[in-house]
Symmetry: C2
Subunit: 142 residues, 2 copies
DNA sequence: ATGCATTTGAGATTCATTCTCAATAAAGTT
DNA sequence: AACTTTATTGAGAATGAATCTCAAATGCAT
């Protein structure tokens, strides 16, 4: 998406950060992901395309992607931090299968309304939702 | 609470695990916590009472406490796993302040109902909820 | 008490993440 | 286009939470 690139560029500019090749490569890799990924996923994905960026730079760039609103941190998996590409992707609930690791996503609107109300009662300003449940998916239930 | 101790003992017995002194000490420390704690918190808490258990044993014992239903894993904080004493404590939502680190808890019933319905639609069997949002608490909003 | 299997403690190990620092690249200036 | 300044990068070292190892200690049935 063009729009995301612009958003990212504007963000970098507003912070006096340079639009470097590694930062672009990493952003592009993220845009290709329409679900969850971790640092190693990005690293492999970038290598696959014969580009090259160090892991250190990926680790350094993720906070920028988060601040610019393209990405958010998600649940952890296999003791690694995982992230999701959020811009242009609706918020959703995660149902994580503890048996096979699959992540189902479910709609969010009603839950969001309810949570917003609760937050209002507490006078709390939500900036990010983190909603899910773990258990067994339909295949593993049997 | 007596009941939790019994539950724990029964669990250990059912798995042919021994009821050792360290396992009791750790359980007692957990029972004293009515909110969130990490491994170091438990370690310090135990030392304070002039008892002694190694960190390794705490790490080994937590999965037992989780399996027996006294404790559940919660969000992470400062890159440490954190846990909460759940037995006899209602489920709740967490509102985590990204500025001061405070954790507010809010009621849960309606959200639970809604999520249960969504899980049912996906044919997913929930074993544990993980519900929260991060943002700014009323003091940090200003 | 005795014997056997389990558990413990201490320290070593692992592995994701962060840090360090010399080398490199971006972007503005002439 | 070459020069300057300052931010950024890559490689490897460092950190630190969590896990593992193994000899010594403990629980528990007999």
């Amino acid at each position: 998406m063009k729009q995301e690139k612009v958003l990212y560029q504007d963000f970098l500019q507003s912070k006096n950060l340079k639009l470097t090749k590694p930062r672009l490569i990493i952003m592009e890799a993220v845009l290709e992901n329409h679900d969850h990924f971790n640092v190693d996923d990005l690293y492999e994905q970038i290598k696959m395309k014969h580009k090259d960026v160090s892991r250190a730079t990926i680790y350094r760039t993720i906070p920028l992607l988060i601040e610019s609103g393209l990405v958010k941190q998600s649940l952890r998996c296999e003791s690694k931090d995982i992230y999701e590409h959020t811009y242009g992707h609706e918020n959703h609930l995660h149902f994580i299968c503890t048996n096979c690791g699959k992540i189902l996503e479910s709609s969010f609107n009603e839950v969001e309304k309810l949570i917003n109300q609760l937050a209002k009662n507490e006078n709390f300003k939500i900036s990010e939702y983190n909603l899910g449940a773990s258990g067994l998916c339909k295949d593993c239930k049997k």
